[in-house]
């Protein structure tokens, strides 16, 4: 195994410049024209090739999980992560490594022209190595994407639960999107925190933006209401659409202890009455 890797290392070291040109040509033909301009392909390739040659010379192992490959892995990880930010597809990211295959094979064949058997073995080994490197870039790419999704989920969670003060002692909580357990937790916490901050007596939970209400969502709502009540604030549910009213009754969810109103406006009037204020229409309207 060791002499084979050395052969590959020798080829890379000897024909570095030619390989680089062949690699870049391959990369540019595979990449979309606009995209290849936006990144420093030549710089990255020129950085990767010597590092690969050096690693192959120093380590006998072709398993890229080994400690000897840590620098190569790190460079590939950096490149992949940058690709994610620049909006590349996984295929385009992996092609960075795969495009190197063809020129390498070409020079391997030339170097071992008098020994076809060794040449095919060399090529098989090199192919496995580059496949692994390519898969590694995809792996990093995927992880970077997952991180972005996770962060966005978090941000969405915070964005989607605003608590607004409508009036003195009256809060409103317009809910948008489906209520799951983790969102209920955030909603509950922000509502209760706001109740403490403002000293509100009444909170209106508006569910106009909640697409469906099933038993679980209803239970989450009731929990929120119970927690607010424990703190000394009453809740009104508003924005119940006809379909949702039907579903709630069909499901047998008990909302009898809760004040419910069809629209936020109706709920607001009730809240004002409870808070001891009222709105008067001026003449002419």
């Amino acid at each position: 195994m060791s002499n084979k890797s050395t052969q590959l290392a020798a080829v890379i070291a000897e024909f570095q410049d030619q390989l680089l040109e062949g690699w870049l040509a391959g990369l540019e033909s595979r990449l979309h024209r606009d995209k290849s301009k936006t990144i420093d392909l030549r710089g990255q390739a020129a950085q990767f090739l010597p590092l690969l040659a050096e690693t192959l010379q120093q380590t006998t192992s072709t398993n890229i999980e080994d400690a000897g490959w840590v620098d190569v892995r790190q460079l590939l990880a950096e490149i992949s992560q940058a690709r994610v930010r620049q909006g590349f597809t996984p295929i385009e990211t992996a092609n960075f490594v795969f495009a190197l295959k063809e020129p390498i094979f070409e020079y391997l064949r030339k170097a071992l022209v008098d020994n076809p058997l060794q040449a095919s073995e060399e090529i098989a080994t090199a192919s496995t190595l580059f496949d692994n490197l390519g898969l590694y870039t995809i792996d990093v790419y995927q992880k970077a994407r997952e991180q972005i999704i996770l962060r966005q989920q978090q941000e969405l969670l915070e964005l989607s639960t605003p608590v607004v003060q409508l009036w003195q002692n009256v809060l409103a909580l317009p809910l948008i999107g489906t209520l799951d357990s983790s969102r209920t937790q955030v909603v509950m916490e922000s509502l209760l925190q706001k109740i403490v901050e403002t000293g509100a007596l009444i909170a209106i939970i508006d569910i106009t933006g909640v697409p469906t209400v099933d038993t679980l969502v209803a239970q989450h709502l009731l929990k929120t209401i119970a927690a607010a009540r424990l703190m000394g604030a009453d809740c009104i549910i508003s924005g119940i659409r006809p379909q949702i009213a039907q579903t709630i009754v069909h499901l047998g969810v008990n909302l009898e202890d809760v004040v419910t109103k069809a629209t936020l406006a109706d709920a607001f009037v009730v809240a004002l009455q409870r808070a001891g204020s009222s709105i008067q229409l001026t003449a002419g309207r």
């Binding site: 509950m188 007596l201 929990k223 424990l230 000394g232």
Partner: protein, 117 residues
């Protein structure tokens, strides 16, 4: 043994829990409070738990039981100043304290007690 003080204001009793509640303390409070309601002929009890930031199921039940006992002795009971974290915990534990009045702070709680009926 350390005890939670019960203050009398006219016919109202004021209980402020300022220390960490542990089980023995909670039991003692139940005993003291029921005795004092009878002795002082109190018609209102205000329990301030604003300094309480951790509850377990036992303390949660104790709070709810204490309030229920005061109610049976015909004293209107208001639980005030519950922290958000405590409220969430109690709800998750399924202790929604049905039938116990709650208020955001002592001032609002007093107002509730002063209202007739």
């Amino acid at each position: 043994m350390e005890r939670i003080p019960i203050l009398r204001m006219g016919r109202l009793l004021l209980v402020t829990i300022q220390v960490d509640m542990h089980d023995r303390l909670a039991m003692a409070l139940q005993e003291d409070l029921t005795n004092r309601i009878v002795k002082d002929r109190a018609n209102g009890v205000l329990i301030d738990i604003s300094a309480l930031d951790i509850v377990d199921s036992f303390i949660g039940r104790m709070i709810s039981d204490t309030a229920a006992m005061a109610k049976i002795l015909d004293a209107k009971t208001v639980l005030v100043g519950m922290q958000p974290a405590v409220a969430i915990t109690l709800v998750e534990l399924g202790l929604t304290l049905e039938g116990v009045s709650t208020a955001l702070n002592v001032e609002l709680g007093m107002k509730m007690l002063e209202q007739p009926g």
